[in-house]
Symmetry: C2
Subunit: 483 residues, 2 copies
Amino acid sequence: MSELKEIGITTKKEGDFSEWYTQVVTKAGLIDYSPVKGFIILKPYGYRIWEIIKESLDRKLQESGHQNGFLPVLIPESLLSKEKEHFKGFTPEVFWVTKAGNNELTDKLAVRPTSETLAYQIFSKWIMSYRDLPLKINFWNSALRAEIKATKPFIRNSEFLWQEGHTVHENRKGADEEVFLILDYYQCIIENFLAIPTIRGVKTEKEKFVGALYTTTLESLMPDGKALQMATSHNLGQNFSKPFEIRFLGRDSKQYFGWQTSWGLSWRVIGALVMMHGDNKGLILPPKIAPIQLVIVPIFKNKDRDIVIEESNKLLAELKEKEFRVILDDREEYTAGWKFNDWEIKGVPLRINIGIRDIKNKNLEIVRRDTGEKILINREDCSDRVGFYLDQIQRLLFEKAKEMQDNNIIKVSNYQEMKNILKEKGGFILADWCEKEDCEIDIKNDTGADIRLVPFNNKPDSEDKCIYCNAHSKKTVIFAKAY
Amino acid sequence: MSELKEIGITTKKEGDFSEWYTQVVTKAGLIDYSPVKGFIILKPYGYRIWEIIKESLDRKLQESGHQNGFLPVLIPESLLSKEKEHFKGFTPEVFWVTKAGNNELTDKLAVRPTSETLAYQIFSKWIMSYRDLPLKINFWNSALRAEIKATKPFIRNSEFLWQEGHTVHENRKGADEEVFLILDYYQCIIENFLAIPTIRGVKTEKEKFVGALYTTTLESLMPDGKALQMATSHNLGQNFSKPFEIRFLGRDSKQYFGWQTSWGLSWRVIGALVMMHGDNKGLILPPKIAPIQLVIVPIFKNKDRDIVIEESNKLLAELKEKEFRVILDDREEYTAGWKFNDWEIKGVPLRINIGIRDIKNKNLEIVRRDTGEKILINREDCSDRVGFYLDQIQRLLFEKAKEMQDNNIIKVSNYQEMKNILKEKGGFILADWCEKEDCEIDIKNDTGADIRLVPFNNKPDSEDKCIYCNAHSKKTVIFAKAY
């Protein structure tokens, strides 16, 4: 039993949320720490989740004519500094290569913090005419930003896996459409696969991507009342195409600068997944994203071993045939109890217990990870019932998260109320704002909350007042403390 | 016509091989150059070839219980230097990160030249008992080695895409078996997919991977008479497990050090593909690795446009249904002649021309990229014939390459003969060797050729003499000049 205790989660989610999170990501076998502070390693179970997310998004990108490519990880400083705002934004967190072997480099090299500058230097050579547009390229790679703040696995690391998409269009309309197509894709993946509800909107001028015309974002509320930015999609306008000279011959034979977008989704969404659905026993994975959707655990005394193992293998084959991601845990060096615990920590959505009595009675016991419920089913209905429960778990996880989020979007009408709520329990605070950056900054300094987003379809002109300065309100926005 | 000429290959393969190669990889749209010398960018067409190779190998690795993971790209110097020989081998070509933002780092960070040291530091925490073995982890990532010699796209670059596998076993037998399983996988991918014949063997002590017990290798002969190392699989013995303390509790309750392997296959094989099969019109891709296996080009005068396009789309749907990788080139801004050229440079194995006369006669014209042959087929046999010709092209490309290689494996019995052949035309020189490193080094300095490999199943003891020093020969080995 002491072994069971040691591998289990020893903190409560509702108690020390941060410690609970750290225990889950490590004990569920998602990550380990690199000897270099701020960097993590993905163990196979964690990496497989990323691969499933990648495959889901990549399919959508391919269908709409995006193509993958590869860019080097080292970018010369001279290139990075070509768009001034952009460079200023990234320079405090860039890792710099200054030596190759024993030789000092004359132009030092940045380890990719993001690839806009390198990609656009190249795009300027590839694009000659409107016939070359739209150009839609995606890169699955990692980006590096030296994190000075406290790091947190998946949420804030000095290196993270992501995809970065970069497109060039003939006009603003093309770029606008691309920005929103991608935002839709991201929302689909996050809501339908990861079962995490999101709110859509645009970032303020202060919070937008450095160098962008505007930044659209998906924000989710975590169970501890803090917001997490899930993914962003930027319209870069012509801010990069001008310094990088991405010019094309238009349909009217005149020269134009391209309109550009860039967009990214990182492994941060795995962190959100853990926070949102996990419980005091460990991870809970939505079936669509689970590397293992169900595990079969044979339970037997020695004399029944062969029969139970044989039946387990039959069941395994049958469920594999139906394309469920299923494994049989026939390890002999562990007890059934140890295995139950192991798969619970790892968040496998369904477990099937199979013993000699089940075989005789033509029954099976299914155990749901999300509710702990044990359900006796007919052996012959197995694959139907498995499909049913996986669908149900997927749906209920989303609904539960949605209810939590909806209950914590709170409209406030005065600043003191906002401060109280932020202090007590956090949440998404819906408040009026005059659109002045001074108010935004003062509120941030005073409460720690910033404007996460300006929801789309914002209000028409009204008599409302800015929550902070009482001036005429221009927008209703969402404030929150954030990761 | 001037446009045709400009995009075409302007050098002969049999003339300036090196210039021909550079033109093919760029004009076929595989790569572009980074502004940093020695680094390349993969355009979508080139990257897709890598993705297909990756999917093929990954499937095999998964089937035999290997799992993918992720490791950070930055490795502390202190870790890299833990295995002394290994560190000495890599240190002249390491890119060093010495600054993060404006801060100097105290322990400088290597940009991953290979991950043995970081992986094994972590493995030592994961492995406690024989129950944790074998541990078989693979990483799809890039590695960086500052190339001082002349660089060449895919063949020698300062950053390259690859996979690196790392395994730990209970005993030498387990590690030996893994080394050869992987060598088999590599050979299968390279011969059956890339259609490139290989020779298997082991590296000499001088040429083995730094820190390995022994290195197995696959070597291929390129059409210019130079050898290319295609992939390597190393038995590391306990050389890393001791300094990194990868210890496990054995079945007899005693502590043991693990036995390890590492192995890698890089995008270099794409370079080999280009060299081996390409011709004076450009790339020729073996069907199994071709992103586009066939292209349909509609040919029409204006009045027939709608009928021809409609029939082309029908054909496209039919061939897609059969899971061929097929596209319809219905771009209206280019002539048919321009398109023929474009797809020839890109090496698409088959082209189907479809015009109004073909539709009326229920015929189609298939054009083979490898032979240039035009074949009239019945419309209704189309998908059968496409399958037949793709198989045939795949097989014939391999056979042609195999014949070239076989004709250039030359057994020599005296040193002067060897020097003459190396000077005249290169090739794989089969020669006797005393196993002394002095001879190996002298021959290298004198001729530029080194021992590419010691073939497996080497000769029993005989009366043969070392080609260089005339001492008793221990092994028959293959010398060649190499990339």
